[in-house]
């Protein structure tokens, strides 16, 4: 996978931990973009900027929130990527009448926003911009989505056991997305009376604390040999 290799190379070269900035910067480098940012959000109103590569990235993030319009707002609302390859086009100006001209004025010409999402779990938006217009190629769209997935995993990890412990998902064999994990997420949400995002974080925290594969923990929940209860992390039955 090219995206993984890029992150690994980037982390190796800069000597940093695998972190939001590292993944965001690696994506910008791989896709020849200008900058990127990361907004963690649980609703359009509750949000926090976790990273911005430069002042313009920060202001693009800020102004979409202030105006309540823009590719990032749309990506979060729809749960789907929004690829604005030319903010100065007729289509963009109609779609975002206030944001698009302001962005162009500030020298951003293309903006690509990717929701951080697993089904009904939505944790924010990963966005990138370029100072020139132009669409992403199909391979670049796919790569950007892989980067967004990396960011999502980092966010989940940071919430479940703090940053700096990323080895277990970097080596994940792909079982991560299996149906059983999604089913267990739904079950744990009910057991703990929390939303699905929180439930997924708790599942991962349990897997991490017990050094177990996530799929195994999820299977335990679905088979009802493992149950989460409020206060305690998990009760083996």
């Amino acid at each position: 996978m090219r995206a993984w290799a890029t992150v690994a190379r980037h982390v190796g070269a800069t000597g940093t931990d695998v972190s939001f900035p590292a993944v965001c910067d690696a994506c910008v480098a791989a896709l020849e973009l200008t900058g990127s940012w990361l907004t963690l959000m649980t609703s359009p109103a509750e949000r926090e900027r976790a990273y911005a590569s430069d002042p313009l990235a920060a202001s693009l993030e800020e102004s979409q929130f202030t105006l309540g319009e823009g590719p990032c707002e749309e990506a979060f609302a729809s749960g789907l990527p929004v690829l604005a390859s030319d903010l100065d086009s007729e289509e963009s100006l109609q779609r975002w009448p206030v944001f698009a001209p302001a962005a162009v004025q500030s020298t951003a010409r293309a903006l690509f926003a990717f929701p951080l999402r697993k089904g009904a779990v939505q944790l924010g938006v990963f966005a990138t911009y370029r100072d020139s217009a132009g669409a992403l190629l199909p391979d670049q769209i796919a790569d950007a989505q892989v980067f967004a997935d990396l960011v999502l995993n980092l966010v989940l990890d940071a919430q479940s056991h703090g940053s700096g412990h990323t080895a277990h998902w970097l080596n994940d064999d792909g079982s991560l997305g299996g149906a059983v994990v999604h089913q267990a997420t739904g079950m744990v949400a009910v057991q703990l009376r929390v939303d699905l995002g929180e439930a997924l974080v708790r599942l991962r925290a349990h897997a991490f604390a017990n050094q177990l594969p996530l799929a195994e923990v999820a299977a335990g929940v679905v088979n009802r040999t493992l149950r989460f209860s409020r206060g305690v992390d998990a009760d083996p039955l």
Partner: protein, 245 residues
């Protein structure tokens, strides 16, 4: 394969395409059509995610044990081979495939299937997934059956591109794939929510989800969305009027 059944099937598929379209329900219809018209015993539609791993989108039977046969193929099996090569893979006797795909062949045989076909979901030079057909008896599709199956696979692919106002095909396809993959995840999450509320297994939870969709005139995805968004507050025992008390 009687011509009137075939005609009826394509009328139903195209009707669904031009009216109330939902990608998961449409893929479900494709899977069900395979079982009805092609005389296969189990059918499923798989789409590749951004990591090029196959994800199960729709299956003609949602029984957990059968779902597993498709899930197993995120890593190995005829669908993976079909997806990677872009060509049809047919195995008339799974007993002969034990060394090729040990886990998959064992699971399929244990579930009572002797043979399997996998056809590519192809869009020009790209392969985006596979249509996977299982047979209880050792056989594969004949020539006519194979052509109808490929037509169904093509309809499934094309459905992902339809009714888009503007935009480039690559982008539309990327969006639709994401949408279908996430919709399927929401369905699994909703099954978990229901299973916990009803103290049931996943098969019962899915039947309940379907019933909830039917009663409310919703798509399966729409019902799943409602269920997961009400996860914190709603008392499903009462709302659904079902479950085991």
């Amino acid at each position: 394969m009687p011509a009137d059944r075939l005609a009826e099937m394509f009328v139903r598929l195209t009707d669904t395409l031009v009216t109330d379209f939902d990608s998961i329900d449409f893929m479900d219809l494709v899977a069900d059509s395979c079982v009805e018209v092609l005389d296969v015993d189990l059918a499923g539609v798989l789409l590749a995610d951004q990591h090029h791993r196959l994800r199960t989108i729709a299956v003609s039977s949602e029984r957990a044990r059968l779902l597993e046969l498709f899930e197993l193929q995120s890593e190995q099996g005829p669908s993976v081979q079909c997806y990677r090569s872009g060509a049809v893979v047919s195995v008339a006797d799974l007993n002969m495939a034990a060394s090729r795909w040990p886990r998959f062949a064992r699971a399929a045989l244990a579930a009572g299937f002797e043979a399997v076909d996998a056809l590519p979901l192809r869009l020009r030079e790209r392969t985006i997934g596979a249509l996977n057909l299982f047979h209880v008896r050792p056989r594969t599709l004949d020539l006519v059956g194979m052509r109808v199956a490929q037509a169904l696979a093509d309809v499934a692919t094309i459905s992902l591109l339809q009714e888009e106002r503007s935009g480039r095909n690559d982008e539309v396809l990327a969006m639709r794939l994401q949408q279908a993959l996430h919709s399927r995840i929401v369905i699994e999450q909703a099954k978990g929510v229901l299973a916990e509320h009803l103290d049931s297994d996943m098969d019962t939870a899915f039947a309940e989800l379907r019933r909830y969709a039917r009663d409310g005139g919703l798509t399966t995805s729409g019902a799943a969305n409602e269920i997961v968004s009400g996860v914190v507050r709603t008392d499903w025992r009462r709302t659904l009027g079902g479950g085991r008390d």
